[in-house]
């Protein structure tokens, strides 16, 4: 039972990170019909920005600010930095190709992903960066927390899960309750018709990239709080985020959240009860089957291809 609780906790923490990335994929795919290969690398950049903010403010061992404020600033920094990066990527790599054949922006996205990952390797080397341990009164982010049975639930897990869910709720409200969200949904439904109804498509797309990339940035900082980051993490994490988005049904926001959590749980249980060696294999194989037999995902709507 303790193992189960532990694995569930792991799955929930990992899964909420995947969900944050999956949301970015889903949002951008919904509006542009583009698989943004560079999204995982935006996530990586977010984790580095968090590290930069931390360095400027004195490092984890000797912070100039209270730890809570520091953490908030790091996440904010990652979100803002990634939002700017996302807008730049859209402006320079995707916008010129908006009317090109569908294969063109995909290849451009591959180029962006490769460029980002290797630029960061060029600037900061291939080594891993660790945020370090944040000391709170009477413990650290890892040692504090509470117990369920014999399982220790660290503060860091609680922070990750709660903030991820908070961001998802904010996003949900943004998309369903605001004018900008309405414009996004309209664009996603039918771009041309939306443009004819007076919606500024360029603005909607930029806004989507701001939101999607900011989520990735927040996810990146929270990920790097737990796991050391490196310039090369973007590829695999991006792949998993995309997996989550597809499982949930690409284009669907609740789907992306569900997909992220399912992926997190699946990984944790496979790793815990069986082996870490084959967990990637199982997940990718399941995904291929998923794409073959239910490409619209769990919560997606089957698209009808118009001739």
């Amino acid at each position: 039972m303790d193992t189960f609780t532990q694995l569930t906790l792991n799955g929930l923490t990992e899964g909420s990170t995947y969900a944050l990335i999956a949301l970015g994929y889903t949002l951008i795919y919904g509006v542009l019909k583009l698989l943004n290969f560079a999204h995982g690398d935006v996530f990586m950049v977010g984790s580095f920005i968090g590290f930069g903010v931390l360095k400027v403010l004195g490092g984890a061992g000797d912070p100039k600010l209270p730890v809570w404020l520091l953490l908030t600033l790091m996440v904010r920094g990652g979100m803002v930095g990634c939002a700017i990066l996302g807008v730049a990527i859209e402006r320079f790599a995707y916008r010129p190709l908006r009317d090109a054949p569908r294969i063109a922006p995909l290849i451009s996205a591959l180029g962006v992903s490769f460029f980002l990952a290797n630029s960061f390797q060029l600037m900061f080397g291939a080594q891993q960066y660790n945020y370090g341990i944040f000391f709170l009164d009477g413990g650290s982010l890892f040692s504090k927390g509470f117990e369920i049975g014999n399982v220790h639930i660290p503060l860091i897990a609680i922070i990750t899960i709660l903030s991820a869910f908070a961001l998802m709720i904010v996003l949900w409200l943004l998309v369903t309750r605001t004018r900008a969200g309405k414009a996004m949904r309209a664009t996603s439904f039918d771009r041309e018709a939306a443009a004819m109804m007076g919606i500024d498509i360029d603005r909607v797309i930029v806004f989507t990239f701001v939101v999607g990339s900011a989520l990735a940035g927040a996810g990146g900082v929270m990920f790097a709080l737990r796991v050391p980051t490196a310039a090369s993490i973007g590829f695999v994490i991006g792949l998993k985020g995309f997996t989550a988005a597809v499982i949930g049904g690409i284009g669907s926001i609740p789907g992306a959240m569900a997909g992220g959590l399912i992926l997190g749980f699946a990984e944790a249980y496979i790793a815990g009860y069986w082996t870490t060696r084959w967990s990637d294999l199982v997940i990718f194989s399941v995904l291929i089957l998923f794409m073959l037999f239910r490409p619209s995902g769990l919560l997606g709507q089957a698209g009808i291809k118009k001739v």
Binding site: I107, F114, L239, P295, V307
Partner: protein, 487 residues
């Protein structure tokens, strides 16, 4: 009143012939002077003359140079030429985005390694194992292509990418499948036999120098594959592929077996990749999982897109250009010369023989010396970086090379350069021209101090930038077929 003859022979296009096609000859603009003359001659030469010339040039390389390194680079180049030809079938002709292409290369290499190494104690003669491997590759391509019946575009791309990841996982962890060592795991398979021809093993090293035999085998393989693909391209199947690429739905409506065509494209591409993998494994006499990872796919994609998707000669040239460039970037001295030569040529090409060019180059030189003098005056350490003799020494009077770079300078100057270059594309032409001088100078600074220090990252950064730039500026590549615009 028109003459009766005019009515008999209308001047317009013939019936059943598009006007656009009919006037093809007129639309081709010819350059004036000698260059135009050469261009026109070159255009009239038949395709096989070019192929013969190209293969002969490669074959003569070992005669001209006895340098083992150059032979090895030539061999690697032919491997990439083969890979590019194979990928061209899938991407250029079929229009299918296959991101798992390296997996077929891996399958070929591992199949050869398993069939001719102590791993299983099998040592098949090469002439037996190669057909087996090509068939294995084609079958693998067929199986991976099956999803393409239902998926298109990015979905297919991601499925093939997953396939590559799965292949990697299996190869890396294959030393513990149900307690058996199948693939040698992360340590790969070593002691693979070299190629056996007519009962004789072909040694890789001949007196410490790379054996020429392998270069001849690979170039011969290239010629055979090129010829085969050329004839396939001009067959019914080739035409069907192109119609599939342009509009799958329309092709299906015309009664073409779309699914079969897609699977054939995958099979052909995979078979070529597997064949190439065989040569690779035989030369290396070992295979490791990490040799077949995603960067390889990106490299081959850059070759295909630079050369021009769908054009056999184009992708071959693309492979040569990209691989030779990547080889140049390995060595800082070569990379430096390449950078300045390409830079000056690019500027000259962009402005032509105008006064603007002279002013730009002149102000660039002046700007450089001025910046160098200012930096020298502030702190001599800023300009006292290591300078070798000759070209590098002359250069060190112009570009700022500090001794020992502070940690923050690299990232800041690099990010600054990227931002400047991006901003340049948004500026009006006049301002851009003025801002070009400091940007280029900053570019040389970053090149000398940041990029040259890390050749590996630099190579891939350049590939990434090439992919983005090509897609935006010249999606047809150097020699690609122009897509037909469907209104």
């Amino acid at each position: 009143m028109s003459e009766p003859d005019d009515l008999q022979a209308p001047s317009g296009p013939a019936i059943g012939q598009d006007e656009w096609v009919a006037r093809h000859g007129e639309r081709r603009s010819q350059r004036a002077g000698l260059i135009g003359e050469i261009e026109e001659r070159a255009r009239r030469a038949p395709w096989w003359a070019w192929l013969v010339l190209f293969v002969a040039a490669f074959a003569l390389l070992p005669v001209v140079s006895h340098d083992g390194y150059i032979r090895r680079v030539a061999f690697d180049t032919t491997l990439y030429m083969l890979l590019a030809l194979g990928l061209n079938v899938v991407v250029g002709w079929g229009g299918l985005l296959d991101l798992g292409y390296a997996a077929f290369y891996a399958i070929g290499a591992y199949a050869y390694a398993m069939l001719s190494s102590p791993q299983y104690g099998i040592h098949l003669p090469t002439l037996v194992s190669i057909p087996i491997i090509v068939v294995i590759g084609a079958v693998a391509g067929f199986l991976v292509g099956l999803p393409s019946r239902r998926l298109i575009g990015d979905y297919l791309a991601i499925v093939t990418l997953f396939f590559l990841q799965i292949t990697q996982t299996v190869l890396t962890n294959g030393d513990q499948i149900a307690g058996h060592d199948l693939t040698g795991g992360a340590n790969g398979i070593i002691n693979v036999d070299p190629l056996h021809l007519l009962g004789h093993p072909l040694v890789v090293q001949h007196g410490g120098v790379f054996a020429v035999t392998y270069l001849y085998i690979s170039i011969a393989t290239f010629a055979v594959v090129y010829l085969a693909l050329h004839f396939v391209n001009h067959s019914r199947t080739g035409r069907a592929w192109r119609s599939l690429r342009e509009d799958g739905l329309a092709a299906e409506a015309m009664g073409m077996p779309v699914n079969l065509l897609k699977l054939m494209a995958f099979s052909f591409g995979a078979a070529v990749a597997a064949l190439t993998g065989t040569l690779f494994a035989a030369l290396q006499t070992s295979v490791f999982p990490l040799q077949f990872s995603f960067p390889l796919v990106i490299t081959v994609y850059t070759m295909v897109i630079l050369g021009g998707q769908g054009n056999l000669a184009g992708v071959t040239i693309g492979a040569v250009v990209v691989w030779v460039m990547l080889e140049f970037l390995r060595d800082p001295g070569d990379a430096r010369i390449l950078f300045y030569v390409v830079g000056v040529l690019a500027i000259a090409f962009a402005f032509g023989r105008t006064r603007k060019l002279a002013v730009l180059l002149g102000s660039l030189v002046v700007f450089g010396f001025a910046a160098h003098a200012i930096a020298d005056a502030i702190n001599h350490d800023w300009v006292s970086g290591p300078a070798a003799n000759g070209f590098d020494h002359a250069l060190s009077h112009w570009v700022i090379i500090p001794t020992g770079l502070a940690n923050w300078v690299g990232p800041v100057s690099y990010i600054g350069l990227v931002c400047l270059v991006l901003a340049l594309t948004l500026l009006p032409a006049r301002v851009r021209y003025v801002a070009l001088v400091p940007t280029i100078y900053l570019g040389t600074f970053v090149w000398e101090n940041v990029l040259l220090a890390q050749p590996d990252a630099t190579r891939y950064i350049i590939l990434g930038v090439m992919l983005i730039g090509l897609m935006i500026l010249r999606p047809n590549g150097l020699l690609g077929e122009r897509r037909v615009e469907i209104v």
